[in-house]
Amino acid sequence: MPLSNRHLLGLQGVPKEDIQLILETTKTFREVLERPIKKVPTLQGKTVVNLFFENSTRTRISFELAEKRLSADAINFAASSSSVSKGETFKDTIRNIEAMKVDMVVARHSAAGTPRFLTQICDASIINAGDGIHEHPTQALLDMYSIKEKLGKIEGLKVCIVGDIAHSRVALSNIYGLITMGAKVSVCGPSTMIPRFIHDLGVDVIYDIDEAIQENDVLNVLRIQLERKAREYFPSIREYATFFGITEERLEKNGKDILIMHPGPINRGVELSNAVADGLNQIILQQVTNGVAVRMAVLYLLGTMN
């Protein structure tokens, strides 16, 4: 059974069957990654362009590796090295790339909705690798795969997303995906970083980190983007770390075996203490490995649809 859409623009509205299919396929590729020879010929002859209009190292490497493991021809396009800076319009840039006959485009862009815009101006299959503060579907898929791998299920679990929810594409994709898969989702962070209407998405809001630890099975802790505007939304890093940072003392105090996840890169001593970042509860590096497998699954399912 194929996926219901030839693009992956986000997890909003993606049916449960599609997510299940991606997660099951991921399992197969996860096994491939444990083999001595980690390459399969599945996408031989297909061309994938990684179109990155915003800086990214780990997501781009993860996609590139996934493409190479599937034997696709992978091309990297970064906005800084492109004609975008020479004044060419976005639409013309895309048309030019498409004219080189590409099958799939993996797009990262600072503006929300750009992947959908791409579907209107080009014929390739589009995978959203993060658009503004909108969605980052492959991150949420790898988070869900990692939860399932560790805890055996998603349905019925309580998952809390911690941090700057308002400026996070990871949060929104996780909210959509987890709710579809039957988890109970809450968010925790300073009120200035919680979108005003988030409750209407079916999400509970918690302002007390201890309560978030007590109430949940999983904490997905987001990076505080110190380089971005985030700094205007809370008084100081010290105050954030004191009131919302996850520390070993906090975990012990609440006496709880809880799964700690983080999409990386971590600000050690801010959202996670050193001890927690390296501790027994976290699966941060497994998430990174699973990321390659999830992206292989998505590329494979979309790349073999026609």
């Binding site: 503006a111 929300a112 909705g113 750009t114 503004g132 503060i133 209407f197 209407d200 998405l201």
Partner: protein
């Protein structure tokens, strides 16, 4: 030349005039006779139009138009804007000063006037309230008034500070000219759509409704304090409508306009990131639209204006956050108003005429055209029941950025008459 408009209905609430199935005789652009016409009346060179079932009303007036000249003649010019107005059923318009350079000197005013001289459409000019619309120094208001400006605005942004607003209001108060305010607190501005569940779902930076409400409240208080006239442009929020209603009750000299998109569309339309739904103020929610409609009904909102904002396709066909704000509206406005307000029985035809022909002129101290012998003919001909589909390829505007393209509407203007010219069913001719 004589023009005979046969079998028309005439309506002008300003004159308490209402006639059915009558005839109008024009000669050299003037109204000569209304009623039964004799053989003597119709002798000589003439054009006859059988307008059975149609209405002849005072020429419609759009008080919020961006003509883009000088500066962005690739998007619109004074001439194409005037033709767009005629095609949309308007005999007059007021153009906003956010051109490049801004309309903050008599030279720019005279340039626009020169371009508009031979057009059917009357072009009135809103001058910048501050030099370069920068909110720092009051514009030369006396000079601008001398050159014919009818109001002041920094449209595109609100007048920057309360201190400058006070001076602007006091100074313009000497000449009894209104300040037209784009109400948006700049420290809360900068988003791409209305703040709500939709902005959260779409991941677009939000503009909270309180950004509008704060400036509306500031301006109401300042208008009261300085006894000046304030006009709220493109009102869009529930709270702002409530505040204007209250201010009118307390006797403050305030008026307000709303655009067709703000009484028709909501932020639900942005789902596909179509930049033709991106404008400022942004599309709001259903409860805002409902309140705007009550405001139209109870008279809190005095007039309907398009905020006609042409943008080139290259500029609009980009990522939503990077697209410029604004849509065109001159050629869809009457159709949308008749469909959504008149046919849905929210406003009577008299009220539509008040809001689109009479009140905008009164706010800007422009005489309202009369339909009586001896007067220059300044008329719009309405067909209330024509069903038509909007097609932006038929627009006279240079730009096509309209969210109403392909929409089915009931009612439109069949033509206009003004300044010894007539535009009827797609053609201009001298009369």
């Amino acid at each position: 030349m004589k023009v005979i408009l046969k079998n028309v209905n005439i309506l002008n609430p300003e004159q308490k005039l209402k006639e059915t199935k009558t005839n109008i005789l024009l000669s050299d652009g003037k109204i000569v006779k209304i009623g039964e016409l004799t053989a003597e009346d119709t002798k000589g060179e003439k054009k006859e139009f059988d307008l059975t079932g149609k209405y002849v009303v005072p020429g419609f007036f759009d008080m919020h138009v961006h003509l883009r000249e000088p500066g962005r003649e690739d998007e619109e010019t004074v001439i194409t804007g005037c033709q767009s107005a005629a095609n949309g059923g308007f005999t007059g318009l007021a153009c906003m000063p956010n051109t490049e350079p801004a309309i903050d000197s008599a030279e720019v005013v005279s340039l626009i006037k020169k371009q508009a001289k031979d057009q059917l459409t009357d072009v009135f000019i809103i001058g910048a309230a501050t030099v370069g619309r920068k909110g720092e120094i009051i514009s030369p208001m006396a000079e601008l008034k001398e050159s014919g400006v009818v109001g002041f605005s920094d449209d595109g942004v609100a007048i920057k500070t309360a201190a400058i607003l006070r001076r602007v209001m006091e100074y313009s108060g000497m000449y009894n000219l209104p300040i037209i305010e784009h109400c948006e607190d700049e420290t809360l501005a900068g988003g791409a759509m209305n703040e709500g569940l939709n902005s959260t779902k779409l991941g677009l930076p939000p503009i909270p409704s309180v950004a509008e409400d704060l400036i509306v409240s500031r301006d109401i208080l300042m208008a009261e304090y300085t006894h000046s006239k304030i006009h709220i442009a493109h009102i869009s929020t529930k709270k702002s409508v409530e505040m204007v209603r209250q201010a009118k009750k307390s006797g403050i000299k305030i008026s307000a306009e709303v655009t067709p998109h703000h009484f028709t569309l909501t932020d639900d339309f942005i789902k596909t990131y179509d930049t033709n739904y991106k404008m400022n103020p942004p599309l709001r929610t259903k409860s805002d639209v409902d309140e705007v409609i009550s405001g139209l009904r109870d008279g809190t909102i005095d007039c309907i204006a398009s905020d006609h904002a042409p943008h080139s396709a290259e500029e609009k066909e980009v990522e939503f956050e990077f697209a410029p704000n604004g849509i065109i509206g001159l050629e869809t406005q009457i159709g949308v108003a008749l469909t959504e307000l008149y046919h849905k029985k929210i406003l009577s035809l008299e009220q539509v005429i008040e809001k689109m022909a009479i009140n905008p002129r009164k706010i800007l101290n422009i005489p309202v055209p009369k339909i009586q012998p001896g007067e220059l003919a300044n008329l719009t001909i309405l067909d209330l029941d024509e069903v038509w589909t909007v097609d932006f390829d038929s627009f006279k505007s240079k730009s096509q950025n309209s969210p109403f393209n392909k929409r089915l509407l009931t009612g439109r203007a069949s033509g206009v008459i003004n300044k010894n010219q007539m535009y009827f069913e797609g053609e201009f001719f001298n009369i």
